[in-house]
Amino acid sequence: MLQYVIKRILLMIPTMLAISVIVFTIIQLPPGNYLESYIAELQAQGESVDPQKIAFLREYYGLDKPLVEQYLRWATGMLRGDFGYSFEFNMPVTKVVGDRMFLTVIVSFVTIIFTWAVAFPIGIYSATHQYSWGDYGLSLLGFLGIAIPNFMLALVIMYVANVVFGTSIGGLMAPEYIGKPWSWDKVKSVLEHSWIPVVVIGTSGTAGMIRRLRANLLDELQKAYVVTARAKGLPPRKVLRKYPLRMALNFFISDIGSLLPHIISGAEITAVVLSLPTTGPMLLNALKSQDMYLAGSFLMFLAFLIVVGVLVSDLALVALDPRIRLQGGVAR
């Protein structure tokens, strides 16, 4: 087991290296660099730019250096914990992300809990009552959640919340609390505003989870051991809880891998529409303005979380389900 873990961790190094090259290349693919898109943006607004200032910045940010050198500087910097410099904010990347990370984790965490709380009972219900009206009705709701684009739902809910409840449009708290230290009123304000993103992002996730739980559970429910348990006279709820449900939960664990980056990046588009102070819009803007170190470091962090998440979920699966063995990789 230990050998397996070490091997997996060692494998992460070339993986991350490859990812860093890909990330850097993709960010560099669009023509121009940060300064050029900066000039273009200013000019679209009718502003002028001082060429000398641009020359200074180009040299200061090292944008006049060859690409390979820029890459190496960034990649080796990350090893030392230096994630580079955000051009847009004129400060180190770590400082830029700061507070936003915290709010992002809160929103995403609440969203995941919401998704589970809604999807779990519905999934079980629709599996045990297959092809009933309830099954169809609830599945329909779930599919609507998938089918309606998040940003659309966000706009509608936001409009209704503004007109009916008078909640200010967008944001995660009433404007007067932004930038203030945390207080009870601020927490209340966050709760008042956060239900919108939670519902919007959550609805798209529930349908998927409902269908997977339903399918897995249906597979198990047909199996002989369930029949045996029933035949022995166990009450139906206990049967369900004790055997097939546990079997059907594997996908929950394997989801962790994709869940971790989801917590950090949130749902970008929804966050942009709702103008949430989370990290999603920041990543999007960084990519748009070619603020390459901010975007790059961000993507690297997400990639790292995926790699770690997959490892954790693999190990957790082994621990939880005795049917799964590691032999495929290690045994020879």
Binding site: E88, P175, V273
Partner: protein, 641 residues
Amino acid sequence: MKALIIRIVALAALASTLAAPAFAAEEPPSLAADVAAGKLPPVTERLPRVPLVFTAPRSDWTLGRYGGELRTLQAKDRDIRMMVVYGYSRLVGYDEQLHLTPDILEKVDNVDSRTFTLHLRPGHKWSDGKPFTTEDFRYYWEDVAHNKELSPFGLPQALLVNGHPPKFEVLDATTVRFTWVEPNPMFLPALAAPSPLYIYRPAHYLRQFHARYVGLEKANANAVEAGSRSWAGLHQKKDEQFRFDNPDLPTLEPWINTTPLPATRFVLVRNPYFHRVDANGRQLPYIDKIIVGITDDKLIPAKTGAGDVDLQVRYLRFDNYTFLKQSEKRNQYHVRLWEKALGSQIALYPNLNAEDPEWRKLMRDVRFRRALSLGINRHEINEVVYFGLGRESSNTVLQRSALFRPEFRSAWTKFDLKAANALLDSIGLTRRDGAGLRLLPDGRPMELIIDTSGESTEETDVLELIRDSWRQLGIAMFSRPSQREVFRKRVFSGKSMMSIWSGMSNGIPTADMSPGELAPTTQEQLQWPMWGQYYEQGRKGGEAPTAPDVVELVKLFEQWRNSGSADEREKIWLRMLAINADEVYTIGIVTRALQPVVVRDNLRNVPVEGIYSWDPGAYFGMYHPDTFWIDTAQTAAASAK
């Protein structure tokens, strides 16, 4: 004894009020507590000895009342710099009639545009209460502009005349003098620009980062600790008067930014040491606080319509007008339409540096450019796209400008297919293919591709209409939308034959403003990017222009730069405008495009009709937002209803 002391104190108080300006010292209520507690000196001591007295610029302008906060929106953290633009506190600035008047300066003595003597206001203070003196100018000149590490590329362009720097002298604590051998007409307009030439720095604050004052090693160590690579990097970062992102940096603007980046909500508070007063001697600004929310730009019209702002102009487009108008009543605001100062709302730019030799030859042929201009039905475009609110025009200055001449506006703008076809025939483009398209001399059909930045449907709508009328000239036109950076690259490299973009950015110039847009001066000019690059890079990169009229434009521009007389500058301007109008280097379509401005009903002193312009104008800056005020009586009346 006690009585005597009281009498002396009273006398002293009397003396100090006599020395101070003869105004009633009304304290802004939001500062009264601090003054009473002794944290802040009284207003008479905070104002310069000779403050700027703001007089009513319009008949509907009224004296205001103190207080309140003003909410507005921007799309990015970086946009906080707009508050420096709106604040528009400059050494000299434009008033509403576009006259340059002293603002931070008490006066300027200008001798032949060669010698400029700047007189500061005695007793003027930075927002932290420290004196603003000629030491701040000296610090900029010696320790910033002439420091190899802070300014590796030398002095800013506006300070150089034919490459020569001025002589800088500090005459006393409130007077400095700049002297050039040749005239420098660019100097004062550069000081008045929305993104101005800052020739002063808060020396008392910035010294702590400067190697000369704290020692190289200590300065560098501090910088590394603060996350910068060198002391110069840290100094640069702290010294951003225009970016406005350092709350610690003292300022002379009406409001001080208190929020560091990154943030989604910026709070600006009044500068207690601001140098302007109203006619009653009350210190400006009237409004205590400005709240700048940061929201995605596409959401800004929606939030504006929902009544989340008191004043909004940026990121509102003309096509939001009907939507905004709809919720005017419900959310108690008014949508006003201001005029944009663009020479033409959109203009076509034939690329005189196009790569394709056949097309390049045509683009450089004035007959071809004139034919294209005559082949545009501007009236139809105006009616269809702009609801008839625009005015058909070439790309030239607007009627408001003293340099406007009707013949510039109407030059080659009459829709006349017959004349256009005759011009094309006279070039020798007489062969046609089966579909009726004219053929280029090398036999290719004339298929003209116009590059767009792909950002506005307005451009594509206009092109769609132009396509139809040009087809009757025997020219097929296609538009090629791309993305902004790609678009610019294609134009600069000559891959694009023609492009579409907004027209002259300063449509309301005076003869004292630079006519640089009319001659090749920078690569950014889409009609002759390579010629522009040639002059931008000091006659090294790009290509030297060959067309005689363009060479004349360059000469005229140089003459303007070295001209000491206002009359001569006006003559040069008119000549350059005439050449541009006649040669049709850019093809204008309509002017007087409108910009919606949303103003809350209780906000006073925002002009009903205004110009929306970057330079000159600084957007709201020219209209002095420090004199805008919130009519609380009206708010109360409205909520009682």
